[in-house]
């Protein structure tokens, strides 16, 4: 169904054009990411205010729009404290190590369909690395070094505990994160992110359904990776003051702060790319395009309007995940350290291993049956993605059921039932007490 574009319309970029465009993309992406991160802090405060019947920041500019700027200025102008016992170089290095991986990972995420320019078609990704997802996993693991280093270098017990927690937590969830992506590799056959988007387009189903288990685990792990509630143990302000960044002030603290939001943004963009079809627009085939493979264009003819619309689509999907991140943060309590470890090692690790096996078997069966990605039953139902999706949703249901064990979903009865039971218990106790008293006297 995909028609290769004509050579006249679609041509690859020259080396010079590639270099120039890369620089432009780096600068633009960095600027946009930093601005979005600044606005995310405002968004978070506005969303929390909305959830908590408050006004939120509204002093700086209309609707508090200048608040991030004021915060940034404040952080730059504040006094920089440096504990006398802190390990100098590492103390300074830690915030940098924390912020750089968070920003760098954005480089491999394709944020729109390729854009046609006078000098050739420009892929809308800063660096289309052939090792895309592996690069992502590697760099997101690097982020933990910054936190552990901050915890150790601060020479503060709270910070040390926070750093230790961060280290243990990140390692635990890194595994689930990696394993949950394994299923995707079977089908995509590549670790490049544009290929992931392309496969979702060909298959006709987004991977949040096709790989429901992976989606759920990746999402949970990403909460742990970004250190946000319910996994904000390294900070745990009520336990460890503010955990690993207790001793940081001024711009150094600000860098940790920016790193957290940059992580949220990157992870949301990643979730959108991996599981919500990236820049894909539902029910539209005009945007199905991969790029150049061995010098040959694969996919539809690119157009500027397609690039713009797909960018919008990508932005909306990312935004949805960001908002959910924030809604969750202001809704749920925090896990305990051992519970986080249990969830990571005892539930998510074996469950994702099992899911990988079952998915692999399904993929093998589908491939041996000769089912192709493009095959549609009744003209519109995707067969390949559909079968995988049904298997995965069933597995996810089993996992949820097993984890819940009738505790949460069916709860402990309705409010009225519980009240009635409490009354009943109280009456029984009172009667017992009276009988006991009578017996004594």
């Amino acid at each position: 169904m995909m028609q290769a574009g004509t050579v006249q319309a679609v041509q690859d970029m020259s080396d010079t054009a590639y270099a120039v465009s890369s620089v432009v993309k780096v600068v633009l992406t960095f600027t946009v990411v930093m601005v979005v991160v600044a606005l995310l802090t405002l968004l978070e405060r506005k969303i929390s205010a909305w959830m908590q019947d408050r006004m939120g920041p509204n002093r700086v500019g209309p609707g508090g729009i200048g608040q991030p700027l004021a915060d940034g200025l404040k952080n730059i102008l504040k006094e920089e404290t440096h504990p006398g016992e802190a390990a100098g170089v590492f103390f300074t290095l830690a915030p940098m190590l924390s912020i750089i991986p968070a920003l760098v990972t954005f480089a491999v995420i394709p944020f729109a369909a390729p854009m046609p320019t006078r000098w050739g078609v420009m892929p809308m990704v800063v660096a289309d690395l052939p090792v895309g997802i592996l690069f992502l996993l590697a760099f997101s693991s690097l982020g933990v070094y910054g936190i552990v280093m901050a915890g150790w270098a601060s020479s503060n017990k709270y910070a040390l505990l926070g750093g230790l927690r961060a280290g243990a937590q990140m390692i635990s969830y890194e595994i689930a994160l990696g394993l949950s992506l394994m299923s995707l590799f079977f089908v995509v056959g590549n670790v490049g992110l544009p290929q992931v988007v392309w496969t979702q387009q060909r298959m006709g189903t987004w991977f949040f359904f096709t790989f429901a288990v992976s989606f759920a685990f990746f999402w949970i792990s990403s909460f742990a990776e970004t250190n946000r509630l319910p996994f904000d143990l390294p900070e745990a302000e009520s336990e460890l003051v503010t955990g690993y960044h207790t001793e940081y002030s001024s711009m150094k603290f600000s860098m940790f702060f920016i790193a957290e939001y940059a992580h949220v943004l990157t992870v949301s963009a990643l979730l959108a790319t991996l599981f919500l079809g990236g820049w894909d627009i539902p029910f539209l085939q005009r945007d199905d395009m991969l790029g150049f493979v061995d010098g040959r264009w694969v996919g539809n003819v690119p157009a500027l309007w397609i690039t713009l619309v797909t960018f919008l689509s990508f932005a909306i999907k990312t935004f949805v995940f960001i908002v959910i991140f924030m809604l969750v943060r202001w809704t749920v309590p925090r896990f305990r350290y051992d519970q986080v470890m249990d969830l990571g090692w005892k539930i998510m690790l074996p469950a994702s291993l099992a899911a990988v096996v079952v998915t692999a078997a399904t993929v093998l069966a589908l491939d041996s049956a000769g089912v192709t990605f493009e095959q549609r039953a009744l003209g519109f139902v995707p067969v390949y993605g559909g079968v995988l999706g049904v298997v995965n949703v069933a597995m996810l249901a089993v996992v949820v059921w097993a984890m819940d064990r009738g505790r949460t979903l069916s709860a402990t009865g309705s409010l009225d039932e519980r009240r009635a039971r409490a009354k009943q218990t109280a009456r029984l106790r009172a009667i017992e007490l009276q009988t006991a008293e009578r017996g004594e006297s």
Binding site: E239, T408, T412
Partner: protein, 429 residues
Amino acid sequence: MALRRVVYNVTRNPELAAGGSLVHAPVVPVAGEVAHPHQDIAGEHMLINIGPQHPATHGVLRLVLELDGETVVRCIPHIGYLHSSFEKLGEYRDWNQIVPLTDRMDYLAPLIYNCAYAMSVEKLMGVEVTERCKVVRLICMELDRIFSHLLWLGTTGIDLGAFTVFLYTFQQRELIYDLHESYVGARITTSSTRIGGMMADLPAGWIDQLNSFLKGFPKVLDEVDTLLTNNAIWVGRTQGVGVISAEDAVNFGLSGPNLRASGVAYDVRKDRPYYDMETYDFDVPVGEHGDIYDRYLCRMEEMRQSVGLLHQFIERLPGGSINVDDPRVILPSKTMAMNDMESMIHHFKVVMEGVRAPVGESWFSVESSKGELGMYVVSDGGAKPVRWRVRGPSFINIAALPHMIEGALLSDVIAVNASLDIVLGEIDR
């Protein structure tokens, strides 16, 4: 008596040397009784200070924890950072002047403390307050039970990471603050009671204001209920944590929701009813497991019961005078004092000399939001007590803290501490 101090060999008091470098003051052992740190302190274990300045100690409680990894091996609570010598101060104040001291003890439920004190002194003096005063005091006490439990709910939520609950509950507390303000003019330090009555009758429209609060409040409580009660994380963090058996709870002298959560149905309102509490219809929620979750459920249900009680109080609020007609304790009206010689002398005597209590002692306890609150006063017949002693529930409840948290994780320490619902103003007094 030898000076009792606890010395840790990891304590360091860094000072700046002339060149600006840090110099650690040597640790000087204190002669006398010294609590030796655990043997393993030099090895794997770590001492960590939770408080007195820490976001989750609910005031200035200081817990010195000995940690093995994140497991608490030993916990030493230090109190006294907020010591204000209220009881001693009371011996230099006349009977009515002590009232402002009481609400500064438990600033989370000031009206209960005001009332408990007044009730104790009235018992000593043999003053029987008017029916209206009784019901008004009961309203005050139940209102502040909600007031205090709401703070507990919010701060426990925050300690476990549920920030939104905190703001939901504080919005409701704000309404109770407004009720305080429109009644007595102050929001926290109410000083509402006087011996023989209240500082003033309820202002016009106050009951309507209370009714509108009671209308909206249960909805918020249900909202919090949906946020927490069945929340898997909340359940996981609270069930089976900080368990104390009924026997231990009694032996530690726990009272209030902390005791009832362990399964002991002891409530002063039921067992030694005051102000005709036995004629009102309410239940006392009792837990089974004695863990944080049961304490949470108990307090949630207590708030609902308090709402029911407040409705009954409003229904039965009689008219008449709020102050008892007893010249020994109550001032004549301003008009009388300005127009009538005898009344003026009476006014002068009561103000200048204070109320006089007969020789004797009295003990009176009420069910405060945190447990059994007892007030013990001894009089030598003068205008001031010779001894005023408070049986503060928080002070006794916190004694059980080390028992509950040794062997638990650091996160549990915060949760258990929050679940005990302590207020340091009253612990340190």
